[in-house]
Symmetry: C2
DNA sequence: GGTGCTTCTCGAATCGATTCGATCGATTCG
DNA sequence: CGAATCGATCGAATCGATTCGAGAAGCACC
């Protein structure tokens, strides 16, 4: 296929198509983009010429340079996709973002908030960026993006100048769960917390978590518990996974003065805690009550009917997407707050 | 902040930086890219000027136009991210791709193989594309991308002209599982298959699946079973989820002449089948043996120790990534075949 | 028939960088 | 001491489209 090879070697340009169609480049452009009046006849000539030359449409690089838009929405997530996507909430949110991006004809660029090679954040071509808050070390990225004049939306992150926030009622929702437990008569509760920072070290929840917690979500959810139970202990998990929850659960429930209720900061963690309880021969909820957070599908929760707060993850993602495009249009969308809904399951 | 607003309004250009530093634009470009000799003194002048003007580095749009590279690797996946990412295998593979992309300084563009708005596949700016095979309707996308002269790599897909294949020994691996069951004395087995096409309709496995199956992976795995059990029935699941597996399992195990062994085409499906068995009061493996495929972590398998074939998903992703960049460099990488490893669990 | 529209088309400027070849001292080599 | 070499810098061309303003043609109305 010499034809194929040469076609790859020198892709035809709009100018070539225009020449073959016997029109100017500007007219050809109009024929493709549909912006501006072009006679049917001319458009067909252009399209025929394109077909003949194997022209695949305007080069997006050139178009985006001229237009000043690239049609790409950046999404900054945690280091490892595998970690980030282990949590169904993140996926649901990303799906929401993808919905909006698709509707706006934009594609999604996945950027990882890696410490070392932050080259892509600095040099990827995109029109706006959504920062996913679970990433704890956003500041550097934000600084770079701000310098680039990039519209930014952050989901569940501390308020930052020039960054539109899409928030969740983490604190109030956690307080709701805590109150639920108190009403059931529990007076000694322990928390299994999401990682407080990006060190990823599991361990005992430090007393000065207010100072230490760099993760917005983890801190807010802790505050919520503190609003109801001024004093409580717990563990920091390694991540939002069942296994991490199991480990934390073993540590908490294995001790002498084990609490009668455990507040896990995510449903996956809660499932892990319950598994630990089973392994230790404890009955849930008789011996120990467990609550989660998120409202994952029962399918993802090993079939366990958790007491939890159901958060609107997809809606959150959608809102973030819409906000990003709205910023792009020069509007000034307001920050949004999503609320979670209490769902009583069989674990309390 | 008028400063902030104006900075966003008119981002400084390289030319402006160069002017302020008292050098030519070409020299300033060299100072940033590091390509070509620039005296330390000059570079610092340029950098200082950039700093003063709040210049965030060369505009990626312009750079990619000129260079002819955009530093973006496209990944085409199923319609809904939520569906695609429900399967840990896909995530693991994506993680492998991300590893290689990161190493090559490229970012990942997520493209969904949607029926309607295929605008992004036609017009996203990227340097190469990886097609994830589970997407059943690749042909259209491939045609468009081929026209664009885009280097393509496909993971687990039927061989296509101009598309580099990264394959898995689906057929042989499935045959291994089937043989394992036959050695255990099972003579009536049923298969729970991945969707055969993108209709997503669950139902009885049609006898003419060879003709019907448009999904490469599903078909190959069926062939593998057929190599050992010439005749077998089964169900087509709605997707690779526990719930879909449970539904299929109920249908299969609830019938009068239920098989003594079920071959599920993915571990998630297998977990679902096992759950169905439990609900029907059947013991695994005593009453019914179940095998899966993939080798997901026990954590993701509800703690079940499955008999399965462990496939190297991350390595597959890595290979796909490397192959894409290799194509980009003008090399001619060979198609690769990955092999899965038998792992005997407690379900047979 | 002239005037005032609308519809279509074109030329030229522009987006913001990268890169090739040329230039110009300064240094080194024969 | 002339020539060759090297490092640093610059000017100009180029990447491939989009868009603005202007011009031409066609038409209707008074």
């Amino acid at each position: 296929m010499t034809d194929d090879a040469s076609a790859r070697a020198v892709r035809p340009t709009l100018a070539a198509v225009a020449a073959r169609a016997g029109v100017s480049a500007s007219t050809a452009s109009l024929a493709f983009s549909g912006a501006g009046p072009v006679s049917v006849e001319t458009r067909e000539k252009v399209l025929a010429a394109a077909e003949a030359l194997g022209y695949a449409g305007p080069d997006p690089r050139a178009a985006s340079l001229r237009r000043g838009r690239s049609g790409v929405l950046g999404v900054v997530i945690e280091d490892r996709l595998r970690e980030a996507f282990r949590d169904p909430m993140n996926i649901a949110m990303l799906d929401g973002i993808a919905d909006e991006a698709g509707a706006a004809g934009a594609a999604l660029l996945l950027l990882t908030d890696a410490a070392g090679g932050r080259t892509d954040i600095a040099s990827a071509s995109m029109d706006a960026v959504i920062l996913v808050g679970c990433s704890t070390r956003l500041d550097d990225s934000v600084a770079i993006l701000r310098q680039r004049g990039m519209p930014m939306v952050a989901v569940e992150a501390d308020a930052m100048d020039g960054v539109l926030g899409i928030d969740l009622d983490n604190r109030a929702a956690s307080a709701t769960l805590a109150r639920h437990l108190r009403e059931l008569g529990h007076d000694r509760v322990a928390v299994v917390s999401l990682p407080l920072d990006d060190s990823g070290e599991p361990g005992r929840l430090p007393g000065d978590w207010r100072l230490r917690a760099r993760s917005h979500t983890a801190r807010e959810r802790l505050e919520g518990v503190a609003d109801v139970y001024p004093a409580f202990g717990g563990r920091v998990a390694e991540g939002s996974t069942i296994e991490a929850g199991r480990e934390a659960g073993m540590a908490i429930l294995g001790e002498a003065d084990a609490p009668t209720a455990v507040i896990a900061q995510s449903d996956l963690l809660a499932v892990g805690v319950i598994r630990a309880a089973e392994e230790l021969g404890l009955r849930v909820p008789e011996d120990v009550a467990v609550v989660g957070f998120d409202g994952i599908r029962r399918d993802d929760a090993n079939g366990i009917d958790l007491t939890t707060m159901v958060q609107p993850a997809v809606a959150k993602g959608r809102a973030a997407g819409r906000a990003a495009f709205s910023l792009l249009d020069g509007d000034e969308p307001a920050r949004q707050l999503f609320t979670s809904e209490f769902r009583r399951g069989a674990t309390t």
